[in-house]
Amino acid sequence: MFIKRIRPGNGDISENEVTPKGVYDQRRQIMKLGLGFGITAAVAGCDMMDGTDAEAAQVKGKLAYKPGPFSTHEKKTEYDAVTGYNNFYEFGTDKLDPAKYAASLNTRPWTVKIGGLCGKPQTIGIETLLKNALEERIYRLRCVEGWSMVIPWIGFPLASLIKQAEPNSKAKYVAFQTAEKPKEMRGLRSNVLDWPYVEGLRLDEALNPLAFLAVGLYGDLLPNQNGAPIRLVVPWKYGFKSIKSITDITFTERQPPTSWQRYGANEYGFYSNVNPNVDHPRWSQATERRIGEFRRRDTLMFNGYGDQVAGMYRNMDLKKFF
């Protein structure tokens, strides 16, 4: 499905890098020489495919966006922390691995295939997705491991994409899938999880106004380690639900499997709503460490988004459906 490119030893360059002018010119030079096409393609991304030779906005990664709803006024976590401390097992299980190794992921070209129980199945290129009206949502992110961040995401509501595909009346769930590119994702050599990474939401959860598809953070395109080129953000759930580098979105009638549930169904449930009263079997979820802070803070029910989401779980035993 993807056009495979031979990319000679360029694993250390990420497309989101702010490119100094000198380096940029150098790259143009390399391109003129007809070498390292892959590097330039990975770096320059879609502006090159558009045939423009200018230092387009995409290269710098600056995005045009408006402030969106539901943003918190809490202090934002430092950019370096947001982009240097990640769980993205496709690039290794250490939280420093994604920042080290995710640059090898080629995010252009990229398509998201939407299918399953819907009226308008479609495959959308990332360039088209980037043309959506973008907004900023400053959300709390609570990792199941007990740490949290505040991240200014740039993107658009998941609901808008879902409505575009017109899910039919049989559709009850939405399944998501991450790219599976063994040559570009060194973490796939390990079988710590079943690849590709999969996640799922109930359709009403996916349509909740909080559910967001991010294409950027801190005003720039998403760095690869944060799930470029497009990722889910569901801030009332533990971080692993917010699946990264999405290639497939499928409407289903049955509850889809999720990677962490497959790993250990007693430890990771389908819902995985942030809940200080339901502990992970191996550690407490009552408190969390906000990255950058010294003292632990209390974890909030639904990560503090109860007003927006509690209604969806009104008659459910959240100890059972954790």
Binding site: L96, S284, R296
Partner: protein, 200 residues
Amino acid sequence: MVKSNKKGFTLDIAFICLLCLLPLLWLIWRGYNGDLGVNPIETIVRQLGVWGLRLLIVGLAITPVARIFKQPRLIRWRRPIGLFAFAYILLHLTSYIAVDQYFDWAAIWKDIVKRPYITFGMIGFVLLIPLALTSFNAAIKAIGGRVWRNLHKLIYVIVPLGVLHYFLLAKADKTMPLIYGAILMVLLGWRLFEAAKRRR
């Protein structure tokens, strides 16, 4: 006990002590330079714990190495290595209580009784205390060599508890704890093998 011609704080012991101090000095240096990463508290707690475990395992490796390579002098290294292991684990526990949990005794107690990995870690630590307290010549004299030797066999329980503690807390990637476990099995297996040989 293995007799050696020189006793006390000899040059090789001083060197071992220095080596054992290096990880701590490195950690302090990183802290001083603000180089403990995005989650410095986690880094400190984990580094102290993992070095404690490593030294415990190194301590267990001394006897087999000394026997196999016929270097009885090495046996004297066990004490500083063991005491440093205890020191790292004490600091590991202290950092968990004072920095990670910030003396939230209710949360700490809950952790100890509810979280198997903390339960096992705590049992291991408590069992280490008598070993550390009897790692002085005067103490050995007071309790007698026989009691001392039997008491210090507790280490065969303590180190597996440490590895189990590490294994259970690892979220999904169990590679490192399994490597530690494999090394531990070899070291304990060698002892069982030797004991069986002696009985024959």
